[in-house]
Symmetry: C2
Subunit: 276 residues, 2 copies
């Protein structure tokens, strides 16, 4: 077997992959980068998501399962130097492999098809890590889809992909610029629209006690600094606050989202409330 | 009124404050830095926490309430240039003011005095942001104390202070190197010790349904990568897993902690379970 020399950092493919750290390049090419064994594994398990894998010799030896999965799926697996992986991933410890992926988002109506029971909507979220963590929390709580909307970061931002810990490839994701269109689509899908709003008069415990959370629901989570706009809260069916029992002025976005989504999951899965 | 010239970046006080970005210097001096108006406000509201405030002229004008609070408390308020605030805070956008603070931790037994009902324990947590967010979540969920233990980051790390969003000054904090001593102290304080463990056979919903969570409890949360040690899980009274309803392999630490602490808060505050 002939071992080809590693791909040079100066080739067009490597340069193109590096440029995917910019949102403009991602949007134009509809491609993004997933790094590290966990994300690459989840990407390879998603249908038709991976364009190619770039891996060091060490990472290739260490992950024969991933190499095998790529080969079985007809996905090119190219040997590169550690400096190429570092440059493409943009991280200090990139663990030796990256996958160049196709955008995995669906049209909003498709992401919300099939009678979803729990959907998370990120509205104008500003921190990539928060969008990724929100997707991870939604996956963990058993949500059926995530919609990313408004003037915030995209879910294919490298930091968002990293924070999602593979969950980006686990459930349907939609990207829809207009939050009002998302609310309409959620309602059309039979979902009660809940706005997570610290100023709401109904708190999460009261919402759960009143069986509100047992209904199929979409949760709207707003920007870290500004929350949801008044207009959007008005448009939702109910505004619900996570109770603040101590002296904290607020919870951070991902923690609040986790608490809300798990409250819905619990209410929907409680034996006496199941409406399947 | 004479306006003194701003303090030079080269003075010993500024240099000493800058050095507090290092854990060794913090531990030696038992001092740390809190930055920005929110943290400075909370620090000034805590008894005897602030050594001095360094502020730009602009920040001083913008926050007469903070200047007044410092003056009323006899805390020196020194005018400095923006470059001093930036250097001491170590952040890009430091908002013009920092407080040099005394360590606010208490001995573990003191932090757990007064019949606590809910305590969060961070065991060998590696990311400063996670320690800070955990403190913020514990505050929001109404916890009575936080204990930071094991070979992890300290709660006075600048990123931890920032992530705590002022909550570091809201509730008793203890720092105790030995996790076993923390478990013993929790038990001596009448707390059931719960280990948050993704591999546990009892999940959070089952724990809540069985009224386990209604008891006064201390939650142990482990390292981001390695979780809690088997020995520590063994030492706890119960191990409890946050249920993973979807395909995510795990939740991130802060989200898991928020979900657990809010489950306890809900169980303890439910009208039919209150045991006050």
């Amino acid at each position: 077997m002939t071992v080809e020399p590693p791909l040079s950092p100066r080739t067009g493919r490597v340069k193109a992959a590096r440029r995917l750290s910019s949102r403009a390049a991602r949007t134009r090419k509809r491609r993004f980068v997933a790094e590290g064994p966990r994300a690459v594994r989840e990407a390879l398990a998603a249908p038709d998501a991976v364009v190619e894998v770039l891996a060091t010799a060490t990472a290739t030896e260490r992950h024969p399962d991933l190499h095998g999965a790529a080969t079985a799926a007809g996905v090119p697996w190219t040997r590169v130097g550690a400096e190429v992986v570092a440059a493409v991933s943009g991280t200090v410890h990139p663990q030796g492999l990256v996958a160049v992926c196709r955008f995995v988002d669906l049209p909003t109506a498709s992401a919300l098809s099939g009678q979803p029971r729990l959907v998370a909507v990120a509205v104008a979220v500003g921190e990539p890590g928060n969008v990724g963590t929100l997707i991870r929390c939604a996956d963990a709580a058993g949500a059926d889809a995530v919609v990313v909307t408004g003037n915030g970061v995209d879910p294919f931002n490298p930091k968002a992909v990293r924070a999602s810990a593979g969950s980006l490839f686990h459930l349907p994701i939609a990207v829809e610029p207009d939050p009002r269109a998302v609310v309409e689509a959620c309602r059309a899908a039979g979902l009660v629209v809940l706005a997570a709003d610290p100023a709401a008069t109904v708190d999460l415990d009261a919402a759960e006690a009143s069986a509100l959370l047992a209904a199929p629901s979409a949760w709207l989570f707003g920007n870290e600094a500004h929350g949801l706009s008044d207009a959007l809260i008005e448009l939702a069916d109910h505004a619900v606050a996570v109770p603040l029992h101590g002296r904290a002025e607020s919870l951070n976005l991902a923690a609040a989202a986790a608490v809300c989504l798990y409250a819905s999951a619990r209410a929907q899965r409680a034996p006496d409330r199941r409406v399947d």
